[in-house]
Subunit: 119 residues, 2 copies
């Protein structure tokens, strides 16, 4: 079972971009956001390979146009899966681990266990 990396939140971070409150997270909406292999891969990589508190989209090494990536990250944020912060020109993402574990226990374990090479 792969390990999900939890890092403490550093002080003085920028405010998160708009996102749903934890009480408003919707299971069908969250599952819809995760129903794409690229988006599932983004969340999985953040859970398993995280090196810093949050990461810009360039860190993921995904060979897609930036506008397409921006769209996928925004979809994950608006569903409540990712939290995004703006650092000057750079937008970084982390998974809302505590919120998702509270509302949908076991969901992130499923994502972390997924292998992108399966069907």
């Amino acid at each position: 079972m792969p390990d999900i990396k939890v890092l403490p939140e550093p002080a003085g971070l920028p405010s998160p971009l708009p996102e749903p409150d934890v009480a408003d997270l919707s299971l069908p909406v969250v599952l819809g956001a995760l129903s794409d292999p690229l988006r599932l891969g983004i969340v999985r990589k953040l859970l398993l390979d995280r090196e810093e508190f949050d990461h810009p989209c360039g860190w993921f090494g995904i060979d897609r146009p930036k506008s397409s990536l921006t769209h996928h990250f925004k979809a994950l944020r608006e569903a409540g899966v990712l939290r995004q912060r703006q650092y000057g020109l750079e937008r970084r993402s982390e998974v809302r681990i505590a919120d998702l574990d509270e509302r949908f226990p076991g969901l992130l374990r499923l994502v972390a266990s997924w292998s992108p090479d399966t069907p």
Copy 2:
């Protein structure tokens, strides 16, 4: 935590309608099939309220045209979430509990714990 009802398979059932093999089940595809509140409700009701081995779509008490229901049940079968069998004119469904637990442990627990009244 609500209980998932597992019933033994009776002898002499009709063959299942076409469905993906357990090894071909895809997490993004399964999550996509579950990303709709109506479909999530169908699977949840089968998990929690099951009275027989499988149930026809009339049992669910969903106020939608039959053609719409047929579409949703088919989407769940083609994603590998439901197994369907034809009994004469009637098509009945059960959840592929063992297959889903094998490939995606924790997923059905999430579905069973979902409340249709949340956002």
